[in-house]
Symmetry: C2
Subunit: 209 residues, 2 copies
């Protein structure tokens, strides 16, 4: 049975922690490029991508979308009970993810696999029977999701790829994207003049003028 | 043939970026605890750990050690030519690493496997024939090491575990250790009163008084 990949996406004024190096219009285009990379990876892995957006947006890739103006938890917890089959929830700010990572997530023997995000969050969850789980994002959601799985009697694996672990929120995350990225979002950054440089042994990003 | 695991270790005044939350004596004890976790993981994976220290230190675990006061590159590049067999170079500040990660590194079909560190560095390298490689740490060493491998005609794999990717340098890295750690170094932090708390959706560490 084909896995439905729900991809939460914030189109308007996203990634404000990157405001020092990208203006709002650029951040919106960058977020759309990252979404495109994630959609590509899940599609290549054989999943059916469905963008879960807070509002309508340009959607140049004509991706299937659900527009749900509620909060992330409310939106997902209204959709999951209707989904008895396999569901992948994967964030749209994971442009390092490859189809191999998605294959490993969805090829599990567990009822559930969680990919922790840097800083205690949850970057992806594969749920074999979507209706048996509910989400609780924000804060220490990795621990919360493990507990929800335990309480529901679901066996739970952990995905350990750094590509799933690395969500792009801050300038230091752009270093990871410039080093390990291969899709539209890294191309977008390079076209804006972003590059790496080393300062006292540490690697930083700079934007050319 | 048993893999020799060379573990570079700085015993005196290490991890200065943690100075806000740990004084020098605590940082030295913390570095020793992280070393102990790494030694345990490589030993459990069947490697022979050898600590490569810049100076003599307390060494409570009585680990085999080479004291080499030169810089990291000079020290390693004087040792590698004498090592025709398999060598793993793994940093001592990777307390999330498990024996499974080490198994995957050393079980490769490649001539070489590199585990990138966050920020462009290199956290571990497995070299099937140590004498065929030389290292060039600092700055963008991940890219440099890939190039050295290419120039030497060595096939090169990439290790993608976030446990190998996460070196502990800054306070935000302590969040990862408190969430995903299971060894001496996380016990050390907990005994000092470190815990996690969420602030505006972001997870931080705080040290209890």
């Amino acid at each position: 049975m084909q896995t439905e990949a729900l991809i939460p996406f914030k189109s308007r004024n996203p990634k404000t922690r990157l405001s020092r190096v990208l203006d709002q219009e650029e951040r919106e285009a960058f977020a759309a490029a990252m979404l495109s990379d994630v959609v590509g990876a899940v599609r290549e892995a054989g999943c059916r991508p469905v963008v879960l957006a807070t509002e309508t947006w340009d959607n140049p890739g004509r991706e299937q979308a659900i527009v749900h103006p509620a909060g992330l938890n409310e939106a997902l917890n209204s959709l999951l009970p209707l989904r008895p089959g396999p569901v992948l929830i994967i964030m749209s700010d994971l442009p390092l993810v490859t189809s191999r990572d998605v294959d490993l997530l969805c090829g599990t023997d567990h009822d559930l696999v969680i990919a922790p995000g840097r800083g205690g969050g949850t970057n992806a969850i594969f749920i074999r029977e979507g209706s048996r789980f509910r989400v609780d994002y924000y804060g220490q959601s990795f621990e919360k999701h493990k507990k929800i799985a335990r309480d529901a009697g679901l066996s739970c694996g952990i995905a350990e790829s750094f590509r799933l672990h690395t969500d792009i929120d801050e300038e230091s995350d752009l270093v990871e994207l410039l080093i390990h990225g291969a899709g539209r979002s890294v191309t977008f950054l390079r076209e804006l003049g972003f590059s790496l440089w080393s300062q006292q042994g540490r690697v930083c990003v700079e934007r050319g003028t």
